[in-house]
């Protein structure tokens, strides 16, 4: 797939010269909808060429953030700059540099795939020769070229999503916003989209994506912000985020026979939580060594054998559950451990 991208969509290293270091700079962003505080003093910046992920559960404020950064809604207070341009005061100049892939695949279902693309290109002032060239490249890249003359109302969900992405890229933006680009898609569509994101990143395009898929954030993002209830709980690279929570390492054990009463596993020293996963158990701990010894003793006492042991470092999922879970329990206390 990468080879196709390389040969067809010009793999020109984008060299954008201007004084700003950051593609996005957000400070003290707050958004109220009536009583509801959708964003609460959000601060972050995205450097040029970075793939930045916004990871959070439903209603966290991800789409609201994108809508503010693209100038669709205005913040209640705080401000946001796109390549140094204030999105409220210099909206048009800021928008000229960006492509947007909205949360819903908002294509015109009464138009063909080609008409959809060309319409978007005209909105973004892409000259005729260029838009036709890019239009063909993008449709080929997203596997839609054969369907270009078809009205899109017959398109599958994945095809609509891919067309939406093509429309977001038709103006060759230096910054692209992707609001849940892959949610609900099959493996094939997912792979195409992930490849495209990697390729964009390789060409120096800044990518801002939202997701609630932790694996996606882990695989594609240079840095991830975890957002919950309108507040940023942590921002770091996926690896560093995992390191911040050594307390959620885990030991997975398989016992034969599987004990019916396994609550005793909770009593093992340093175990903070036990999750039954199929025929195995996952014991969360900050000290795997102690737990393994404890498990052996437990097996002896309960006439069962340990037939498998695996230890795991913290996953991004653990970080996420830990951070967002804590937020919910302590109502707005920001804590990493």
């Amino acid at each position: 797939m990468t080879a196709i991208i390389g040969s067809q969509v010009q793999i020109r290293q984008r060299d954008f010269k201007d004084d700003t270091v950051n593609a996005i700079e957000v400070s003290h962003l707050t958004k109220h909808f009536g009583q509801l505080v959708a964003l609460n003093d959000v601060n972050f910046s995205v450097t040029k060429g970075e793939t930045f992920g916004f990871l959070g559960p439903n209603g966290a404020g991800k789409t609201t953030t994108i809508r503010i950064l693209t100038g669709i809604t205005v913040p209640t207070c705080g401000d946001a700059k796109i390549f140094g341009k204030d999105i409220v005061k210099e909206t048009i100049a800021a928008r000229k540099q960006m492509g947007i892939v909205h949360e819903t695949s908002n294509i015109y279902t009464d138009l063909t795939a080609w008409q959809n693309l060309m319409f978007t290109a005209e909105l973004y002032d892409v000259r005729k020769a260029e838009r036709e060239k890019r239009g063909q490249d993008l449709l080929e890249l997203f596997g839609l070229w054969e369907r270009r003359e078809d009205k899109t109302n017959g398109f599958s969900k994945g095809m609509k999503r891919r067309l939406t992405l093509a429309m977001g890229l038709i103006n060759d933006p230096r910054l692209i916003f992707l609001d849940e680009p892959t949610s609900g898609l099959d493996v094939q569509s997912n792979l195409i989209i992930r490849d495209v994101i990697r390729d964009l990143n390789a060409r120096g395009v800044t990518v801002f994506l939202t997701t609630h898929n932790i694996e996606e954030a882990n695989l594609t993002c240079d840095r991830v912000a975890i957002i919950n209830r309108g507040m940023i709980a942590a921002i770091d690279s996926p690896e560093k985020l995992k390191k911040t929570i050594q307390s959620v390492q885990s030991v997975e054990i398989a016992l034969d026979p599987v004990p019916h009463q396994w609550e005793g596993l909770r009593g093992i020293a340093t175990v903070s939580e036990v999750r039954k996963m199929g025929d195995k158990f996952r014991l969360i701990t900050e000290d795997p060594q102690t737990v393994i010894a404890g498990v052996m003793a437990y097996a002896e006492r309960h006439n069962t054998r340990v037939i498998g042991v695996n230890t795991y470092g913290p996953s991004l999922e653990d970080v996420f559950i830990k951070l967002t879970g804590l937020e919910i329990r302590h109502h707005g206390v920001k804590t990493v451990d």
Partner: protein
């Protein structure tokens, strides 16, 4: 680039975007059944309801029919297209494009404008072919049709700013305004015969000025000075355009 050159460049971009929006609407909405009903049949029935049984001359009735047709057809596209686009979320595309809201408003209005010009041809041709009514002066007819169409198309876009996803909501609001306009604009009731308490309302109806111009093409006389008609229509267009721009902005916050 100098500031002025940049300004002109952006102006060009705005017009290209507006035209793209209009083309898109033409492809998608011109053939939608509810638009055909509200844009073509509705004015015809309205007209028949009031005109039949009156001893009026075709040379009075035809300009009236043209004016009513424009009133209804020009403002029938956007009140349908914009709520549907809100529902389909394609509206977000328009309001996140690198152009001002003026371009979006203009683009939306253009499709209604062109639509109503096309439809106004029907009564116009009928007047010539069926009734053999002569046109005394083409200039007020052309200017009248163009300005009236544009004015009511922009009015349609203005009403469609109301943040709903249901075209019916906007259509009913619009009819609260459109229907009374017929009676205070000198179409069936000459302005002189409108009772004095209704006289002042005449001046607030863009249809008054549009009808005056179109009528002049057939009768050779106007109630107001034709220049007054033209200026008033342009004033209404500007008011609608800027009000729409403001409201679209407001409802997005």
């Amino acid at each position: 680039m100098t500031e002025q050159a940049e300004w002109f460049r952006q102006l060009r971009v705005e017009f290209i975007a507006a035209w793209a929006i209009a083309k898109k609407d033409m492809i998608i909405y011109y053939l939608k059944p509810n638009i055909i009903v509200s844009g073509m049949l509705f004015p015809l029935f309205m007209f028949l309801a009031f005109a039949v049984g009156r001893p009026a001359e075709p040379s009075v009735m035809i300009p009236g029919l043209i004016a009513i047709t424009i009133l209804f057809s020009a403002s029938s596209i956007e009140p349908v297209s914009i709520p549907i686009e809100r529902r389909m979320k394609t509206f977000d595309r328009l309001i996140s494009a690198p152009v001002s809201l003026h371009a979006v408003v203009l683009g939306e209005s253009l499709s209604g404008f062109l639509y109503s010009i096309g439809i106004a041809f029907v009564p116009f041709i009928a007047g010539i072919v069926i009734f053999g009514i002569p046109i005394l002066n083409a200039a007020p007819l052309i200017i009248g049709i163009l300005l009236t169409s544009f004015c009511f198309a922009t009015m349609g876009t203005l009403f469609a700013s109301y943040p709903t996803e249901s075209p019916g909501d906007i259509m009913s609001m619009l009819n609260v305004v459109r229907l009374p306009l017929i009676f205070i604009s000198g179409i069936f009731i000459p302005i002189e015969s409108i009772p004095s308490y209704g006289q002042f309302a005449v001046y607030f109806s863009p249809l008054t000025y549009g009808n005056d111009l179109i009528h002049a093409a057939y009768s050779g006389t106007t109630y107001f000075n034709p220049l007054v008609d033209i200026v008033m229509l342009i004033v209404f267009i500007l008011i609608f355009q800027f009000a729409a721009n403001r409201l679209y902005k407001k409802f997005n916050e």
